[in-house]
Symmetry: C2
Subunit: 227 residues, 2 copies
């Protein structure tokens, strides 16, 4: 895949016009970190932000007695270090590659230059982030639907928008955690997944779920969630 | 409350330096809409975005046969119309005041001018939105905690960050919906709220909940959620 296609698929840059994607390509550098390599450390100057392309990065703090406290895991397509870069602070935590990881780096200096020359890049990115916030808010609303199938449908559609509307989504949490998030037990979740598959809405393969009929899933959400 | 203080409390502008808040004050206009008044209509040019200060605004679409489909309700502190303004599209839905509502309007032209003169405003706003996305993502994670008290604690802390860390939060959904979001029944939710109040973590008064001990609530989340 060309690097431009890769950038275009990053949710943070979703829907930016081609010339702005090319501008971003001009300023980014492509880096590979080996397993266990430190990408940045707490207190470092936030001189740029990162987007993971492959692999997995762990963001963590160390307590005074050296105990590791993991804040989050970063997977493909996800940015990290962007909050301190945008707000002009230092990195508030450490980042370490958990496996070999390919990462794009956007230096703050070049990014600020780009925004100065082309404010519409910043406006478009504000649009992207505002839209993602709306998606999240809608998910929180939908998770309070009365019926579990509707909650599941909302969650699957949410995962699919996070991955830029791809059909295939992969659960980043276990089925037990997902059942818990949906307010049900794993057995019920499995039964609902089976029913959705039987009705041709989805196809499942372990943690991978292919969305076959997003319209019907959306109807399930809108109608209150009874399958 | 001065208008500057009001602007500073808007989550979209949270943590902006005073001079940028003053810039925003210079370009905004203060508008009051009566109950039932239309603020904008679907298809209108998105010439600026709005932030509700008091009252309640409904965002909706009309189906071909005139049926109203409500997309969301906007309450104090929340922006609306910002996505199409940032991304250069027309308003995708209608906005109507459901009660007398005070609303700040930021014209697109003045806002773009401001960003051109001062790109760090856009960077700071990108920082604000990125941070809010992280809060949402953390909430989704926390809602998959095994124990219901931890989920409730995560939700209360999330509401409090949405309201810029105020102690008092007000549920925007009913207790039945909240119970559903937390994967429990209203009776259990009431019992947990009672227990939290008895332990001095919160104080409840109908839909208003005052957070007395945010540290202990956070510990409840971090420890897996058993009260």
């Amino acid at each position: 895949m060309s690097i431009l296609t890769t950038i275009a698929r990053i949710p943070l840059f979703e829907g930016l016009p081609p010339e702005q994607l090319e501008d971003l390509e001009m300023i980014m550098t492509d880096q590979v970190f080996r397993k266990g390599e430190i990408i940045f450390s707490e207190g470092d100057e936030a001189d740029g932000f990162y987007v993971a392309i492959t692999g997995r990065v762990k963001i963590y703090k160390l307590s005074p007695d050296g105990k590791e406290q993991i804040l989050h895991f970063i997977g493909p397509g996800e940015p990290f270090g962007e909050v301190p870069v945008f707000t002009g602070q230092r990195f508030p935590a450490h980042a370490e590659a958990m496996e070999e990881s390919r990462v794009l780096f956007f230096s703050k200096e070049s990014f600020v230059d780009l925004v100065k020359r082309n404010p519409s890049l910043a406006l478009n990115m504000l649009g992207v982030l505002s839209r993602r916030l709306r998606t999240f808010a809608a998910l929180i609303d939908d998770l309070s639907l009365k019926e579990v199938p509707g909650r599941l449908a909302a969650y699957l559609l949410y995962l699919s928008t996070q991955k830029k509307g791809t059909e295939e989504v992969e659960l980043s949490i276990t089925k037990a955690q997902l059942a818990s998030l949906l307010g049900t037990i794993p057995e019920t979740l499995s039964r609902i997944l089976g029913k959705m598959a039987a009705q041709g809405l989805i196809e499942t393969d372990g943690r991978r779920i292919r969305i076959l009929d997003p319209e019907s899933l959306q109807e399930l959400v809108d109608s209150g969630g009874r399958l």
